[in-house]
Symmetry: C2
């Protein structure tokens, strides 16, 4: 069995549930996934309106990761114009088997060029802002989440959990996804086109 | 407008989403709620299968809190036999306007005597374990969450988000709860008796 290592990017102003919703579900299969929090520098990064999470690794550590998870949040505004973030993302996303973003995390992926020519989505309240700043991706306004090749982008905040279950299904099977949802007592929205928050 | 201060208890082995699901929703109303992470000692506490969160305050700080949030997770096993945890919980829950637990966090509340004679629930997979250890509460097996006076206890992991929305509704109104769910693109289960995970 391949154990995949997930780089969970954090930065000051990340949105709590964007990160922890998917991580909760991946953590249900700890024989299959390892979670590593990564930031520009190892150390505490404060969530938007919440506590600080410790980044275990920094960009300079040069680790390779099988999967990348990029949350959104207020901190995206600064991170998307920070060259260190964009360089790290371009490199780890190129190497990774699976790339994921939640909410406005897709703006970061777009800024790093990871979504060029790809179908993608983002938070519905911030949709026009993200699309205006980053015209290269083929943005989908009605989608709980979008899969284009190895890149999974989800709509706002809790949509990341439905996306994570789809990733678990694709990587280790439908039963594993069902188990993760059951153990978390999560009632999933299994249809990526069922988006009650689209305008 | 009263701004309420929430003590979010953390300990090594807390379950990530038990904590961060509710915190995400409270953080949507930052004019109404302040979040403070609290642990036996201030500093990092490592989630079950996940990264460390920094506790901003320790038990000895002696702060008063308007609300208390107690997550579950593997770490409950140690915390529920630790007198410092039980003493702190008994004191802050007595002073608080609202007490909340998610998942096996209710075992901690029960161990501290906070649930004596009260209706309560817990994670459905761990139900018999919690009930066997703590016979005093009136445990409800079929409930997404239970409200008894000022004490809200939820079923497993993501049920905490539905409970948090109910608390937001009770404290600052139905529209505020609806807004928080909408901003988080969360599809709520608004019926505490709708528990698809009951046996």
């Amino acid at each position: 069995m391949t154990k995949r290592r997930i780089a969970a990017l954090i930065f000051d102003g990340f949105e709590m549930l964007d990160l922890y919703g998917p991580l909760e579900l991946f953590s249900m299969h700890r024989d299959d996934f390892d979670i590593v929090t990564v930031a520009a520098d190892a150390g505490p990064m404060t969530a938007s309106g919440g506590p600080a999470t410790l980044a275990e690794a920094g960009f300079a550590d040069g680790h390779r990761y099988d999967m990348v998870l990029v949350p959104g949040g207020r901190g995206v505004r600064a991170a998307q114009v920070d060259q260190a973030h964009l360089d790290w993302l371009a490199q780890v996303c190129d190497q990774a088997e699976v790339v994921m973003s939640v909410c406005t995390g897709s703006a970061l992926l777009a800024a790093a060029g990871v979504l060029d020519g790809k179908r993608a989505t983002t938070n519905k309240i911030a949709f026009d802002w993200v699309k205006g700043l980053h015209p290269a991706p083929d943005w989908q306004e009605r989608a709980r989440w979008v899969v284009d090749g190895k890149v999974y982008t989800s709509s706002g905040v809790s949509a990341g959990m439905d996306m994570a279950l789809d990733v678990i299904k694709d990587l280790i099977g439908a039963q594993a996804a069902k188990d993760a949802a059951h153990w978390a007592e999560y009632i999933p929205n299994p249809d990526p086109e069922n988006d009650p928050f689209a305008p």
